[in-house]
Symmetry: C2
Subunit: 597 residues, 2 copies
């Protein structure tokens, strides 16, 4: 496993220089304390913690995995102790509501810490990470009593939380779910059903676990309009907030998986477990949509994390491993061969990883910052930011996890045959990264959300909201020295709108045309979105270099990576724009009966 | 793990209808017995064996893996017994030289059986599969005594063979290898060194293993021109052919790997082991090149195998799994939701797998058939076929394994979250498939071979050899009814030459431009090559449909898959043609020192 070194300089570059966060947070009531100095210090402290405490457990956690017994789930050696330190240092509370014990830092910092800790050890970070869904649910929809009872403990990290959605017969299609909630005389509900794929659903890290469970009331309508949300604690909570008797929710088994072995993926049986309605009845899915974006940005971070970690491993190897001579003559004439970083194809792989990791970092931090504007800005600001998030979140989730998986594979490939061997740790990154395109909505589901609900569903308005951000940026940087980035970006901004209109027209003729082009449309959108962030970073770097401001070599590397992105990765749009408009005919022509072996 | 059902109909379609093998083999001395009836019968028998004996060991072999002890390596339960049946049924001898006990069938059938058995269980098929390298080496370069002693036993399958190339400091760059061969008084050599990544290097299936070892004589020149080949048996062989005393070659350990757990990847220590020179001294690499193509076609088959197996699993799931309604209205109105095969994006994934598997099958069988022409045709035929193989083998190896891995991942994706869970077997296919882009020359190495040695190295002649085959096919099918395939194919044939010339010019300016574009050039070449085979299959299908000849539904499915390929996969060339010519600047500009964390 590569020794993880948190890219502190790059993280600070995005927070402070690209996104000018201090300036923004000075204008957002409640976030004024988030100064550049404070945020930088938090990042450095988080990096130290992740590198020294969590990263060393990454490979051992994969090897050991979790262990199920009737008494519960044991996490891999060291996980529990690391979590204790994490709580003692106050990390769970970092970006949480200060009324309930949170430190009230921007949610941007929460995503940053998710990246840093998650790159160190994704299996580990999922234990505290899954709490966010529960925190958001109780924060947005709980009553004061529920907040005092559950939210404070979730925020402090004394307890963790889960989201219990999936059942064996339904994942993407939650309308099919069957778990029942029967009203009890005391106002509670008896929850009965089986949930699967519950990440961190059972573990030995905390004395209690707060499950947020989707279930149906007896009189609920069928489909997605009959789903309600319930709080179901593992241990019932006494009135004084202490942990009481065991609730009737048990982990029946944990899954054997391709990766993230250190995280317990649980089958949870609810056998008339005591639950409490949260939010209005039958409006559970709507309630969840209010924070779906946040959860998806968190999952998107996994793509970034695995691109970064795989890049770090591949870069170190490419500088050390000797094989063959450079095509332009020996670069290491005294050695038996040149380090493989001299070979253009090895650089292609490294730069692809680097461009995806750094571009995704800017993209996802920007998205997280929009979340802060939604939460703390005035109405007009919040509306605009919410619209941007609505459009960009499915792109971020699907695109970043797809290119993250590609990057993880490229890192393995740089190692040649050694990449396939476990001890190097590169194959674990690929196995761990693979889940990200599946959970929290597959790539296909994100693409349907983007095309159907967001772009066409808004009549193009949400897309126009973002392309006008892009266009304003282009207009503000119209100097000849920035032309190499601005000119193509302007063209893409226009083309993106054109293609969206064409896809919309095709969808009017036949809705399957939208489904047929959705993933390619999403990937196209991802490449263009990343081009915007790369252009922003490149121009900033050019300005810093021109002003000889700071560590010029950092900015030079940034500028060259931007050029690589525009030169070698952005042209992937050319094929995507053909295939997204190819229509559904070649997909749907074959009768199902002809699909046979 | 999907229940494997060998695609017998499709295999016979390619052998008999697309490649018209009987007609060809009637003209090749020594292969006249390979009639359509006989070949079809062999395929059916092979399918039965693979489905019933080998396939059931695929998942258990992955779970159990191999076990090392000082006494050797134990293969997973059932592997040994299956191998015994395989030998008893005469499969190892299928396409081997009849002078040494082989059945003298075309090597095409060897590749077909490699596909069938390998799709059933790739880890298992590598045990007999690795013998081919040893068989080819002894057949081509051994003296009569060596042939009698080793070749007969390898061909019968009584013993297996290995190829011992890699050492820890060298994989792609064999010039760095250090294993030594000291001449002994009796004419043998004492072999000393450590080899790694030796697939099937030690196991419990046969009483002896014949290692072909690359090593250096004491006076050998440095680099690749000082490598010789040696036969090093695990047990010395007595003059009467029986197994004698243990030789000084031992398996020090086996690797923990991402996949192919059922196959032992060995570290082999040679401690003055008794070896015998095979072929001329210092010409070992040249000797190996004579059959490198065959070995690479075998490895390419893995891409096809895993695309096929993943497709079979995904197809069955897509027909059963219910989620959401079709965008064009319910297709399963009486059920709670529609089967997911109604969704265009699910079909996109399934058809991508299907198009890659079936297209690769035609491509690789064609390549194997060229091998038969090289071996059994007259001088002129052999030269032309050898040229085609030289060009197409690196494309086949790299392209088919790349799209095979993509297909394996798409199959997992069709399963949603269930794809990540081991019990379904879809994630094993991804893990197993990942090695194929690494061993037998990585994708990057194949690309350099294609661009440097084959296309530019022949001044374009090898490429012209294949594009004229394509052009002749287009000219012979110029009817309007075939235009949808022929018109684009003609344009691609021309464009491929144009792009090659441009890449050649760029390489003259700076050799790094060739390295920078090599992988994209190779992938472009792969898409165009597959387009040729899809056009051949599509037109044949059109003719059969028009003539109402045979099972029309089979031909309709074939034709529709061809349309999908041209519509949705072939346009990937558009981006590749831009990026292959983007040059090395954006890759090489960054000084190595700026590549830092």
């Amino acid at each position: 496993m590569p020794d993880y070194k948190a890219p502190v300089r790059d993280i600070q570059f995005v927070i402070n220089e690209v996104l000018e966060s201090e300036k923004l947070y000075q204008t957002l009531p409640g976030l004024e304390e988030a100064t550049e100095d404070l945020m930088s210090a938090i990042v450095e402290e988080g990096a130290r913690f992740a590198e020294s405490v969590i990263a060393p457990l990454n490979r051992s956690g994969d090897e050991e995995g979790c262990t199920w017994s009737e008494d519960g789930v044991a996490t891999p050696a060291g996980f529990k102790e690391a979590y204790r330190q994490y709580v003692d240092n106050g990390w769970p509370a970092l970006s949480a509501d200060s009324h309930y014990g949170g430190q009230g830092m921007p949610s941007l910092l929460g995503i940053v810490m998710n990246e840093i800790a998650g790159t160190a050890n994704w299996s580990w970070v999922m234990y505290p990470g899954l709490s966010h869904g529960a925190v958001n649910t109780v924060e947005a929809h709980g009553d004061e009593d529920q907040k005092q009872k559950y939210l404070t403990k979730l925020i402090s990290g004394e307890w963790t939380g889960t989201m219990c959605l999936t059942e064996s017969q339904c994942g993407s299609d939650l309308g099919l779910l069957r778990t029942k909630a029967e009203p009890q005389a005391d106002g509670s509900y008896a929850i009965t059903g089986t949930k699967i794929f519950i990440s961190a659903g059972e573990h030995d890290m905390t004395e209690n676990i707060v499950h947020i469970v989707l279930a149906r009331l007896p009189d609920a309508p069928e489909g997605t309009k009959g789903i309600s949300l319930f709080i179901v604690p593992k241990f019932n909570v006494n009135e004084d907030g202490t942990v009481g008797e065991r609730n009737a929710v048990h982990c029946a088994s944990i899954e054997e998986k391709m990766g993230i072995h250190g995280n317990a993926t649980c089958v949870l049986n609810f056998d008339g477990a005591r639950g409490f309605l949260i939010g209005p009845p039958n409006r559970g899915l709507n309630a969840m949509f209010t924070f779906m974006n946040t959860a998806r940005i968190g999952t998107a971070t996994q793509g970034l994390a695995h691109a970064e970690l795989s890049f770090q491993g591949a870069l170190a190897y490419a500088k050390e491993r000797l094989a063959m001579r450079s095509l332009t003559g020996p670069k290491n004439p005294d050695g038996p061969a040149d380090p493989i970083i001299v070979h253009p194809d090895v650089r292609r792989m490294l730069l692809t990883q680097k461009a995806f990791a750094e571009g995704s970092r800017a993209f996802l931090y920007y998205l997280a910052q929009q979340g802060d504007i939604v939460a703390n800005g005035n109405e007009e600001q919040a509306k605009a930011a919410d619209d941007l998030m609505a459009l960009l979140t499915p792109i971020g989730k699907a695109f970043v996890t797809e290119v993250g998986f590609e990057s993880a594979n490229l890192g393995l490939q740089v190692f040649g045959g050694h990449g396939f061997i476990r001890e190097w740790g590169m194959e674990q990154i690929v196995r761990d990264a693979r889940i990200a395109m599946l959970y929290e909505g597959t790539t296909g589901i994100q693409a349907l959300d983007l095309v159907g609900r967001k772009v066409l569903g808004s009549g193009g308005k949400l897309l126009l909201g973002f392309t006008s951000v892009v266009d304003e940026f282009c207009a503000a940087n119209s100097g000849a020295e920035y032309e190499e980035f601005i000119k193509p970006l302007q063209a893409y901004s226009k083309e993106w709108l054109d293609l969206s209109m064409k896809l919309g027209e095709a969808a009017m003729e036949n809705p399957d045309n939208a489904g047929a082009g959705a993933v390619d449309y999403l990937m196209y959108s991802g490449y263009v979105t990343l081009a915007y962030f790369w252009a922003r970073m490149a121009i900033l770097a050019q300005q810093k270099i021109a002003a000889a401001d700071g560590d010029v070599s950092f900015y030079e590397a940034k500028l060259m990576t931007a050029r690589f992105y525009f030169d070698r990765l952005l042209p992937r749009t050319e094929s995507l724009k053909t295939t997204m408009l190819a229509g559904a005919d070649s997909l749907m022509a074959m009768p199902e009966a002809l699909f046979q072996l």
